[in-house]
Symmetry: C2
Subunit: 497 residues, 2 copies
Amino acid sequence: MSPPTIMPEWLHARAAATPERLALVAGATRLSFAALDAMVDVAGQRLRTLGVEHGDRVGLLLGNSVEFAVLAHAVPRAGGVLVPLNTRLAPPELAWQLGDCGARLLIHDAATQAAACAAAQAQPGARPVAAEVIVVRAEPGGSQAAAPPIDLSALHTIVYTSGTTGRPKGAMLTFGNHWWSAVGSALNLGHRLDDRWLAVLPLFHVGGLAILLRGVIGGVPVVLHRAFDPAAVNGAIEREGVTHVSVVSAMLRRMLDERGARPYPSTLRCLLLGGGPAPRPLLEAAARLGAPVVQTYGLTETASQLATLSPDDALRKLGSAGKPLLHSELRILTELGEAAPGEAGEIVVRGPTVTAGYLNQPQETAAQIRDGWLHTGDLGYLDAEGYLYVLDRRDDLIISGGENVYPAEVEAVLLAHPDVEEAGVVGVPDPRWGQVPVAVVRPRPGSSLDEAAAIAFCAGRLARYKVPVRVRFADALPRTASGKLRRAELRAALGLG
Amino acid sequence: MSPPTIMPEWLHARAAATPERLALVAGATRLSFAALDAMVDVAGQRLRTLGVEHGDRVGLLLGNSVEFAVLAHAVPRAGGVLVPLNTRLAPPELAWQLGDCGARLLIHDAATQAAACAAAQAQPGARPVAAEVIVVRAEPGGSQAAAPPIDLSALHTIVYTSGTTGRPKGAMLTFGNHWWSAVGSALNLGHRLDDRWLAVLPLFHVGGLAILLRGVIGGVPVVLHRAFDPAAVNGAIEREGVTHVSVVSAMLRRMLDERGARPYPSTLRCLLLGGGPAPRPLLEAAARLGAPVVQTYGLTETASQLATLSPDDALRKLGSAGKPLLHSELRILTELGEAAPGEAGEIVVRGPTVTAGYLNQPQETAAQIRDGWLHTGDLGYLDAEGYLYVLDRRDDLIISGGENVYPAEVEAVLLAHPDVEEAGVVGVPDPRWGQVPVAVVRPRPGSSLDEAAAIAFCAGRLARYKVPVRVRFADALPRTASGKLRRAELRAALGLG
């Protein structure tokens, strides 16, 4: 009576079940599940021709596109492991991730070709290949290759997430992690056959990728936007029957600004708001326009949503991220044990969406996942009714426009400059991005390093959203006796209290 | 990276997630998930007080009732294994099932007390206990006992299904079998938070039990009817917001008769029609009234639905049971291997809802489940688009008003009569029940056995729906050289071609 772990491959089963239903809308492209399945079939074969073998890691350096959607299914079908890469990363960051996972192929398009080639020079194991070589139109039914069944315990994706230690960690997500995430979402939010989910979050983030997989598992279309344009998102809601949109606060704010005073139509059933705590005035403004905002708390390490406010409670519990999905558990721990209602502590979660661990980092894995419980490092509390309120992402984490920035990673780059002796990075409020990183540096005595040079140094080594917008200089940084940076004091020194 | 098998107990998690939502409506009783959870909590404690220990089998001899619904959750919560028993069984049939599973308790109500006590005399291990002793009203939040997490691979239910060998077989269903069934149904039919499913099928059958579990997993109410009354079902659709009803053909026919020419309201989203092939004129009559009939093919051994027509195809593929649920596979096998489209053969299925096997029957289990594939014995074919058409349930199976009657079981009873030397049972068409059993008997030479005596003999030993409506007498029964009954010839001899 061992549990079942084998099932038909999702897209293939979906194309067999409902071949004619719409699967993907991207600009002028409209693909049925049968058409998507046929393209994935051909792409999978091409990947194998290119040498992809069982378990090989395949990097995807692509923006939101039909190519990404096809390859997200084709890489696993070919037996490979999907490694979606943030297109905003600098070549040294890319090279590090490709080296860490031992990527065999690095798939790019015209927009990311230069970055891919630069990264591949630093990590020659990962051969750059253009997506157009792999993804072509194919006739439904034209290919006859069957997709092998999948094993829910097998590795599907490695998604890099910023690390507190200065190096990203590759969270290993299984087919099962993704499946349970999709099922948990459907059971909580409901699942209608006329749902239509807009993917405008980057697909290389787990929140975007989850939309693609949910669409296939649930058999509903995904509308794909290449980049975030508030007018285009509002237009898709108004005119294209979009019922669900996943957003972060910065996007929601711009959508509301663009919309003015016009209420949203009732066909919009869910604005799933993730990416960190949302400011209450924003939630109230959304409520005034009838925007059905549903807050969620999710992590790369939980294959997206872990807790989501039920639509029943959207207004009554404004500001809460709700309760854990049915199959998952959530606790708040203080140093003394389980927190009382209203008492803040670390958010600790368990369930079938929790990552199998971090690639090549057994110590980090053991430290963060104990007895199945993932210690998120995020701060929150449960109210008397058990609703989660997220107070702050991991102590020092900066969230800028929905992207996570770990100070340690930026500090590590600054410290690599020969004229920097000490560096500290904190997030400061920003009206557009929520937060932006700011650095304080203690320069080598006698050096001539100035702000512009320090920023330029970072710009060549870090994704743009991680580059400090300001660099201040100081004679000393506030530290604890054990040498740990006191970020609160640093913030205070910057006049940020 | 082993697959997840542990999750919070469904009802407890559901009550935590959406305590105030309506869970159950039965006559004047309306229970929220919190109220149901509290009652289950108390009932679980009482079961433990009554001696139920981990793995103990608990027989439930109850009609559709709040008590059944509470105990269906309380028995697993107390660590026991649920054994729902058909209330129409005769005491010797009950005693056999109780003995086979080694039941420790046999829970009854006033209506089933006599049968329970009679059965318990024959099988003294199973102590009869009145449901009223165990199930009481409880205040939500009044009890504080937590429900332990569940293991999807653990045994949840033993459901007896008629056997071809003359003895019922206890299909062992795990928590996982039920969970995957509910999830597969939601992904196929959709899952709206305003769904409301009417349970009028007996809860002791897997098709009824599945409604209860789906309701809790999906967080939507179940409306429970004690017995089938076509006017009451139509009234619940018309006035009580029922969106889904599971029915068998005999029920649907009476519902349509009662309704006359009035179309069904659009709030009725699904009449899930199971229990065997449906006559085409019935489906056409339903379509004329706008009844959204969705045919399904399910088995006790697959925790209900295995294949279900997608609502998209309800009219285009009238008469088909659709395609397998997303997580399952279905093939048609002939003696020569995989059948061609349109070619009839045995329906063979695989997936996470397939039973772990038959209790105490390793040989039968090995014969029917090979390499994960359940050989159903049912006949059907796939059309060119892969849609399943069920031609006939297992060769000799008689389906009477949705109940399965195995000829071998009835024959075994007749053969136990001292004046019967040979017996054969076949189904004959019946306008109300679809089919009814008819027997042909070769009496002992010189015996004075007549039809009335033979029927009376069966009536004391078999559930009423299994008792032959007619008994004919013959000098010989048609048999193959190896002695196997030729049922087709027997049917012909009865003038049924």
